[in-house]
């Protein structure tokens, strides 16, 4: 067991168990009388016009995939950040080269209009 994680794991286990037990207990105790009316929007709510699972625009996909790519870039910055002092200017040069190559792609995607939302 890694030091210091025991408390977190126990906290996590309790945090997961609490809502699970509560919801299951409520499900066992409460009376069940489902009807269509109960599923409708209440009073001032707007009635659903269509199904929520429609097709989304491809722009969401481009933004999501660019997010994943720059997420990977961010992950690579973490090892540099914790060893910043030890690596010195050598590390800075390395990370600048790493970022420069990716910023080329970022600027290109920007110029290409991939980040535009029109």
């Amino acid at each position: 067991m890694p030091d210091g994680y025991l408390q977190i794991f126990i906290f996590l286990a309790i945090a997961i168990a609490f809502p699970t037990v509560t919801i299951l207990a409520a499900k066992l105790i409460r009376p069940s009388a489902p009807s269509i009316t109960k599923l409708e929007a209440y009073e001032c709510g707007i009635k659903a016009a269509s199904d929520s699972r429609g097709r989304y625009t491809v722009r969401f996909y481009i933004i999501a995939i660019l997010f994943v790519i720059f997420d990977v870039e961010t992950i690579f910055l973490f090892p540099f950040a914790v060893r910043y002092k030890t690596l010195g200017w050598f590390g800075v040069a390395e990370i600048v080269v790493f970022l420069a190559i990716l910023i080329v792609g970022y600027v290109w995607a920007w110029k290409k209009g991939a980040l535009e939302w029109v």
Partner: protein, 170 residues
């Protein structure tokens, strides 16, 4: 003792999430179950002292790739597919294959149990001297410097590829 309990809890999360992922008929439900499975894998990384990998698992897989999965699911309308019968009559064959492969793996793990021995003392000493992320940083910025720089080129290719392929469809 306690870490064994937590290992089995996380393993249950991984396997249970995986089974739910392949059995749900709604693709969105499958994706949510896959998130649960990946959280279990992250917990296993933490049990193995791999804190950096844990962070990568949470930030990248659960935060990034699952969002991408959900957007892909929403992009291609799966409503018609969800209404159709997805499970054909060959599930028993698949189950038989799983059992055979599982028995094989169990057999080889029993036979070659000695090969799985790690050096716990060395690993513990290394992680005690410096953290997991620091160790990765040292390896990344000395031994694996070129792969690290090439990784940025790989990411650049991914940027260009995704934009070019998606732009055509707009």
């Amino acid at each position: 003792m306690l870490d064994t309990i937590f290992f089995y809890l996380f393993a249950l999360l991984v396997v249970g999430g995986g089974i739910l992922t392949i059995t749900r008929s709604s693709a969105v439900h499958s994706a949510i179950c896959l998130i649960g499975s990946l959280v279990g894998v992250a917990g296993l990384y933490l049990l193995l002292h791999a804190e950096f990998l844990f962070a990568v698992q949470i930030v990248l897989y659960i935060g990034g790739i699952m969002v991408l999965f959900l957007f892909v699911i929403m992009l291609v309308n799966l409503d018609e597919a969800a209404r159709e019968r997805q499970f054909n009559g060959q599930w028993w064959l698949a189950l038989a294959c799983v059992v055979v492969v599982g028995l094989q793996i169990a057999w080889f793990m029993r036979k070659g149990a000695g090969a799985f021995k790690l050096a716990p003392a060395a690993a513990a000493a290394a992680s005690a001297a410096k953290g997991n992320t620091e160790a990765i940083a040292d390896a990344l910025f000395s031994e694996y410097l070129l792969p690290f720089e090439i990784a940025s080129v790989l990411l650049l290719v991914a940027v260009v590829g995704s934009v070019v392929m998606a732009k055509k469809r707009i």
